[in-house]
Symmetry: C2
DNA sequence: CCCAATTCAGAGAATTTTGTCTTTGAAAAG
DNA sequence: CTTTTCAAAGACAAAATTCTCTGAATTGGG
């Protein structure tokens, strides 16, 4: 389970990463993505519709249709997906959430909280799907591995 | 809204902080806490029952009863409250949540994710209610301020 | 060109989880 | 006893997640 994101968002991130690792010019089918990543088919359908509307992925109907990234993985930040699926507001909150608080009237965890949040936002902001995909090549295939182990359970 | 915790947990943290700032030997009433912090009475009731069962707060019934911390604010970590209310499992998750992953088969954000999570867990682990309460004294009263501004809206 | 098969699009129903409220009971104080 | 206040079960509501079903675009084969 994700600590921070909704399931929609989690699935969106997974699917996008899946697409980033897909060979060029061969769109992936919804059915295939869903079973490989172990995501409910129709829920993923909805999430991908959102990503398509937001021009993060493109879809084609009919035979040899499917889903593919709309632009280079280098140009898609994790943040883009989060914003598309969960909305910006999902990142604005706080751990404690006192009624009125902020930099002017901070509670005593405010400093640590901001730094933790900084690390997370930085990650989402800076990491692209391309970088996500890198670091795997040469080593064992992360997703494939996941699938195998998931199937074993 | 809290990014990480359920509302129960958020309310639990707020209530605990409220109790920490309460003068010694004068338990606070559920009704009072709920209205001051703007938390639904009966929901807070449930949360405080949980904290009581977990011996983080103690309750007394009847006239001049109420709730108070079970031990010194110095000895209650934020983590204790989170675990009591949301359970340990609420802290075990990940942002991406691939089917099979971990330190052995990490995905490429794993490093950054662990560090972000480290900051958060560290905060929950190390900060006590006492430290939370400090940093406020002398300055404007954080909670009071919150209440005033909340009432204005 | 037309048809059948394939695959995404979308509305909306059903389910599950989470958050809130209602009601009754039990303990403590005076 | 009577009042005050917490304890607890469970009804109810709202939100998140999952499923059902119908429609529309595309392709390739007659
Ligand atoms: S002051 Fe900062 S850390 Fe504290 S509740 Fe407000 S936003 Fe959160
Ligand atoms: S490898 Fe680490 S960061 Fe990646 S999905 Fe798994 S737990 Fe999360």
């Amino acid at each position: 389970m994700s600590i921070i994101f909704s399931k929609s968002c989690e699935y969106g991130l997974q699917a996008a990463l899946y697409l980033a690792r897909q060979p060029k010019d061969s769109p992936a089918h919804l059915r295939e993505i869903a079973t490989d990543l172990n995501i409910p088919y129709h829920f993923l359908n909805k999430v991908l519709q959102t990503l398509t509307r937001d021009r993060i992925v493109v879809s084609r109907k009919g035979a040899n249709g499917g889903f593919a990234l709309a632009r280079s993985p280098k140009e898609i930040r994790l943040m883009d997906i989060v914003r598309a699926v969960d909305g910006q507001s999902s990142l604005d909150g706080c751990v404690l959430g006192f009624p009125a608080c902020g930099d002017e009237t901070p509670c005593p965890v405010h400093g640590q909280w901001k730094s933790a949040k900084g690390v997370i936002l930085d990650m989402l902001e800076k990491k692209t799907l391309a970088e996500l995909g890198k670091g795997l090549d040469g080593k064992l295939e992360f997703i494939a591995q996941s699938m195998i182990e998931a199937a074993e359970k």
